[in-house]
Symmetry: C2
Subunit: 133 residues, 2 copies
Amino acid sequence: MTGDTARPRTADPELACPIAPVVDIVFSRWTTPILWALNEYGRQRFVELERRLTTITAKVLTQRLRQLERDGLVVRTYHPEVPPRVEYEISELGRSLAPLFATLADWSTANLGKVDQARLDYDAQARAGSRRS
Amino acid sequence: MTGDTARPRTADPELACPIAPVVDIVFSRWTTPILWALNEYGRQRFVELERRLTTITAKVLTQRLRQLERDGLVVRTYHPEVPPRVEYEISELGRSLAPLFATLADWSTANLGKVDQARLDYDAQARAGSRRS
DNA sequence: GCCGTTACTTTCCTCTAGGTACCTACTATA
DNA sequence: TATAGTAGGTACCTAGAGGAAAGTAACGGC
């Protein structure tokens, strides 16, 4: 129970970087796929999300959803029914990330190829032995 | 030597999320502070970066810089002088991330307070015992 | 009376990112 | 002679994130 909702806290390495806190909140592991799924497909139940993000485990999904709920990016609705039913949806605050994600998607389509090419070049150079015998 | 330049590869959990590859490249640990420092203060030597990102270790800094170099976001210049001198600067591709970082900074100033408030509310509710028991 | 379902929780285990510490080559300087 | 300084490389170790699997409550159905 201790520290369940506590953020891992990556210390203060980001002192030099004003965007570090946001990165910590928005781009920690699994958060982008979850937010994307909630934003794209609307309100969903736990199992729907679990099935959509095929490789996530229930434990981690719970952790991330709690974190996102605590940060106000996701709204959780619990229905105390016979088989419990819980629904998750993106909050207004979470939806305000949309333009950011759009910018990211734009950069992706425009430059991801360049990154791949850079990697090919780098690996070719490395294999050619230009760096260290 | 095996897998030094190889990306950790977070498997394929991000199948549902088109921006996942970019997140992997741009927002993996330490990359944003490094890119920010290079973009803000221009070309720098290894030790300058090390001192600026106060808590990073030399080993990790080397790893991240290699990774960024391989991805074409950072340019490394080696001067084979008496005491070795290496300079790092942001590449054109890296500089193309500037608007993205700007969007991020904007969202930060606008909404970081709301996240903090949401956390306070959530923690207060949790302490009030409304959830379980 | 047992199974199935949901949304977890808990326990145990593994794996690896990252930290510590020490090593390199080369020279200037004291 | 010894020490400092640069830009790492390398070996060892630990903490912690994340995975697997089982447990839980509460009820409906067979």
